[in-house]
Symmetry: C2
Subunit: 220 residues, 2 copies
């Protein structure tokens, strides 16, 4: 029984890493769909969210069953309650990828992203990838170093977010209000995606070191 | 021991209701701060978030201790894991009130909200109040009926959100880009506030009826 329990804990952890990869891939596809006005790719992301939700539900139920049957204490208990929180962050990251994809779809056959801010979203997509890769490493290897690096990726995302506003506020923004609203919302989606990755990393760090860090990123 | 356990469960529930009232009051103050450009009130909301975070941490730790010491199963276990999720939603609602307050502060001594959209934000503030009052009732009395009503408040919030965009996109919006960005973000904060209230209600309904509902509100 005890051995099965260890295996189950490890397997849940593997599922969390897979889920992180999966929402990372969703955000990557959503970014491409956005930049290339690729509606088929956007639809793929939107349809894929059902799978992410199902994985969340499955992990939650497995955690719940472990709590009920094994009645773990101390570190094992904290590992399971942390997994239950991480899975919520990851699901939300999947939702944000869907929001990006839906906006790409809504503006098709146009691109929601005009040329002036295209490099910023391209970079935001790269940073999102880097964040998700590190999030996976943090979950898989309880890698506190990767967690620290993740914070600087988040700073990078915040800087990109500020750049977006600078572009929007530059005199003579030629793309009108609808585009400005789209870009404001898109910027927010990428920023929140990064915040959730940071939140996952901090939860793991707390699990490893017992040190709670501020949960809220310093974004307005 | 068992009696203490019941009391502790009930007390955690009372704390959740108080926390709901507290983030509701924060959003109410933030809305007034926004509409009246009241920087002192905005500061009050911003400073108050530390208390909300502390309450979250305290409830989480109490849930954790209950899990570790009492090793509950079945309904009790589900009640505690639900409380741990609800507290995360409520904390996020507090964060969103802070975002509104920070925007009010940033534009002081001006108001971030021009006359054209003032009635919409006034109404959004009222809907937020109604949502929070019902959220409290749902948590306190496991009131499935109030949970259903909460969903229509959420629909109302979504309608207000759409109205905002209509105003922004009307020809000749005279307040420029910065104001449009502010309003887009503010609209998003209120909408997310409502989504989290709905999420809390759905978790309680799931606890009572065992029926999982879709967690994601249908917002882009």
């Amino acid at each position: 029984m005890r051995e099965h329990y260890r295996e189950e804990l490890e397997d849940i952890n593997t599922c969390l890493v897979e889920m992180a990869n999966s929402v990372g891939s969703a955000m990557s596809k959503a970014t491409t769909a956005l930049l290339d006005a690729d509606v088929a790719l956007a639809d793929l992301v939107i349809a894929g969210d059902e799978h992410v939700d199902a994985v969340r539900e499955s992990i939650e139920e497995r955690c719940f069953t472990l709590l009920a049957r094994q009645q773990p204490v101390a570190t094992d208990l904290r590992t399971i309650t942390t997994a239950m929180r991480i899975v919520a962050d990851l699901e939300r990251m999947g939702d944000l990828a869907v929001h990006v994809a839906k906006l790409a779809r809504m503006r098709f056959p146009d691109s929601a992203v005009p040329a002036e801010v295209r490099p910023i979203f391209l970079e935001a997509g790269h940073v999102a990838q880097s964040l998700v890769a590190k999030t996976g490493a943090v979950i898989a290897q309880l890698d506190v170093q990767a967690a620290a690096e993740l914070e600087s990726d988040d700073d990078l995302m915040d800087a990109l977010h500020r750049q977006l506003f600078t572009e929007l506020l530059s005199p003579g923004w030629p793309h009108g209000m609808e585009s400005a609203i789209d870009i404001t919302l898109l910027g927010r989606y990428y920023e929140r995606f990064a915040d959730h990755a940071v939140s996952v990393a901090r939860r793991v760090v707390y699990l490893v070191t017992g040190e709670r860090q501020m949960q809220e990123a310093a974004t307005p």
